[in-house]
C-alpha cells in the first residue's frame, strides 16, 4: 500500500467536509482495502465512516425498508424487517462474498463503488430504490452511471438506501466459480408500477434494466413470457470467464428462474 493519512469521521457532516480532493471515504473497506493493497489507488487520506452510529440500522417504513449506509450485509441478511418486506433482498445479502466479508461489507460501500458485478446495484435498480445522501435523494435509475461510476459528487456521502416493497421479487445469480461474483445476476421485481428487471455482471457499463423483459413480464408475469424475447449480446462483457453470447443466454435463464422463484 502507498501511505495515506487517516481520519475517523465523527458525523456525516465531518465526513462530507473531509472527503474532498484526493481523499477517499472508506465504509467496510472490503473492496477499497484490497484495491489499496494492489496499489490500484493512491488516496491522500482515508475518511473512515466506521464510527458514525447514525448510519447503522434498518427501519421498516411504509411497507418497505430503509437501510443505513453502514449496515453490513450480514445484518441485512438477518433482519426480520427485510425478510418480511423484501425477502429477495435478504437472500441477496446472504449471497455476497463470504461470512467474514459480510460482517464488514456495507450496503453504502457497495452502492458507492458500483462494481459492475456487484449484487446490490441490481436490487436498487429493479426495486426502484432511492439512494439518500448528505445532499439529496437520488433515484436508483439516475444513480448508477457506468463502470465504478455513480451520480455522487465530491464530498457527497450516502446515508441510506430506501427500498419500497414489491409485490414479489427474486434475485438469481450465476456465480463466477472462482470469485463468486455475479457472472450474470438478474433481479426481477413485480411492483405496483409494473415489472422491473435489472441485470448485473453482464453489461459493459455495469447494471442495466432489461426493458424488453419488463414489457413481456408486465403483460404476463410468467417465465414462459420470456421465451420469445431475444437477448442481444451487443454491449455485454466478453472475457476469459464467459463470452458475450454466453452471458446473453444466461440473462434469460436467470431471469426465468427469478420469475419462477419470485414471492
Amino acid at each position: 500500500m502507498y501511505s495515506f493519512d487517516y481520519q475517523k469521521a465523527g458525523s456525516v457532516a465531518d465526513a462530507a467536509k473531509a472527503a474532498t480532493g484526493e481523499a477517499k471515504l472508506v465504509a467496510g473497506g472490503m473492496t477499497l482495502i484490497p484495491t489499496l493493497k494492489l496499489r490500484l489507488a493512491q488516496p491522500s487520506k482515508l475518511v473512515d465512516l466506521g464510527g458514525i452510529r447514525d448510519l447503522v440500522g434498518i427501519k421498516a417504513e411504509g411497507g418497505g425498508v430503509t437501510i443505513g449506509a453502514m449496515t453490513t450485509h450480514a445484518a441485512v441478511a438477518k433482519s426480520a424487517d427485510v425478510k418480511k418486506a423484501i425477502p429477495a433482498l435478504a437472500v441477496l445479502a446472504e449471497g455476497i462474498g463470504d461470512p467474514a466479508v459480510r460482517n464488514r461489507g456495507t450496503i453504502g460501500g457497495s452502492v458507492a463503488n458500483n462494481d459492475p458485478a456487484a449484487d446490490y446495484p441490481a436490487a436498487c435498480v429493479a426495486l426502484g430504490a432511492t439512494i439518500v445522501t448528505s445532499k439529496r435523494k437520488i433515484a436508483a435509475d439516475d444513480f448508477f452511471k457506468g463502470l465504478f461510476e455513480t451520480a455522487l459528487e465530491a464530498g457527497e456521502v450516502i446515508t441510506a438506501v430506501s427500498f419500497p416493497a414489491p409485490e414479489k421479487a427474486n434475485y438469481q445469480k450465476f456465480r463466477n466459480p472462482a470469485s463468486r461474483y455475479a457472472l450474470v445476476g438478474v433481479f426481477v421485481a413485480k411492483t405496483k408500477g409494473g415489472v422491473r428487471v435489472a441485470v448485473t455482471g453482464a453489461g459493459e457499463g455495469g447494471v442495466f434494466r432489461k426493458k424488453s423483459f419488463e414489457a413481456a413480464l408486465s403483460k404476463s408475469f410468467d417465465a414462459g413470457a420470456l421465451d420469445a424475447v431475444k437477448v442481444d449480446a451487443k454491449g455485454l462483457n466478453s472475457d476469459i470467464h464467459a463470452s458475450a453470447d454466453y452471458r446473453a443466454h444466461l440473462i434469460k435463464v436467470m431471469a426465468k428462474r427469478a420469475v419462477q422463484a419470485a414471492r
Binding site: 472490503m30 473512515d48 466479508v101
Partner: protein
C-alpha cells in the same frame, strides 16, 4: 504519519505505534507477536487471517489496525483457557481436521463464529459458512466433521 492504536486483544489491553496503512493482521503478528493468525493469500480470499472483532469474524488482512481502535479482538491464541484447548480446537485434533495446519487458525475462528450464530449447523450450513476459508490439504471433509463435533461440544 505514525499514530498510536489501542484495543483489547484476547482480554488484554494493548497499544502500539502503527501507520494508517498498517493492517490489523500486521499489528497482531508483528507488533504483538501473536503469530497464530496467518497470512495466506493477502487478497481477502483464503481466510487464514480470520479473527473476531467485537464478536464477529473478520479477515484481519482486509482491515486497518486503526479501524480496530477501541475494539475487542479475539485471536486463535485467546481460545484455550487455563492450558485446556477450546472445544473447537479439541474437535479439530480429535477428527484430524488438518494436515499442514496453515489454514487451521482461520478455520477454527470461523467455526466458532458459526456456532455463535447457529448452535447446531447442518453439514450443508457448515460447508456454506466455509466459503471464505480455503484448505489446500484435506478436501474439507474432516474439517466439516470437526466443526460438527465442535458445535456439539460447545453446546
Amino acid at each position: 504519519m505514525p499514530t498510536t492504536v489501542s484495543m483489547t486483544v484476547n482480554g488484554k489491553k494493548v497499544s502500539g505505534s502503527v501507520e494508517p496503512r498498517t493492517l490489523l493482521v500486521q499489528f497482531i503478528r508483528e507488533t504483538l507477536g501473536l503469530t497464530g493468525t496467518h497470512v495466506g493469500c493477502d487478497t481477502s480470499q483464503c481466510g487464514t487471517c480470520v479473527v473476531h472483532v467485537d464478536g464477529k469474524s473478520v479477515k484481519s488482512c482486509t482491515m486497518l489496525a486503526v479501524q480496530a481502535e477501541g475494539s475487542d479482538v479475539l485471536t486463535i491464541e485467546g481460545l484455550a483457557k487455563d492450558g485446556k484447548l477450546h472445544p473447537m480446537q479439541e474437535a479439530f485434533r480429535e477428527h484430524h481436521g488438518l494436515q499442514c495446519g496453515f489454514c487451521t487458525p482461520g478455520m477454527v475462528m470461523s467455526a466458532v463464529d458459526l456456532v455463535k450464530n447457529n448452535k447446531n449447523p447442518s453439514e450443508h450450513e457448515i460447508r456454506d459458512w466455509l466459503e471464505g476459508n480455503l484448505c489446500r490439504c484435506t478436501g474439507y471433509h474432516n474439517i466439516v466433521k470437526a466443526i460438527a463435533a465442535g458445535a456439539k461440544a460447545m453446546a
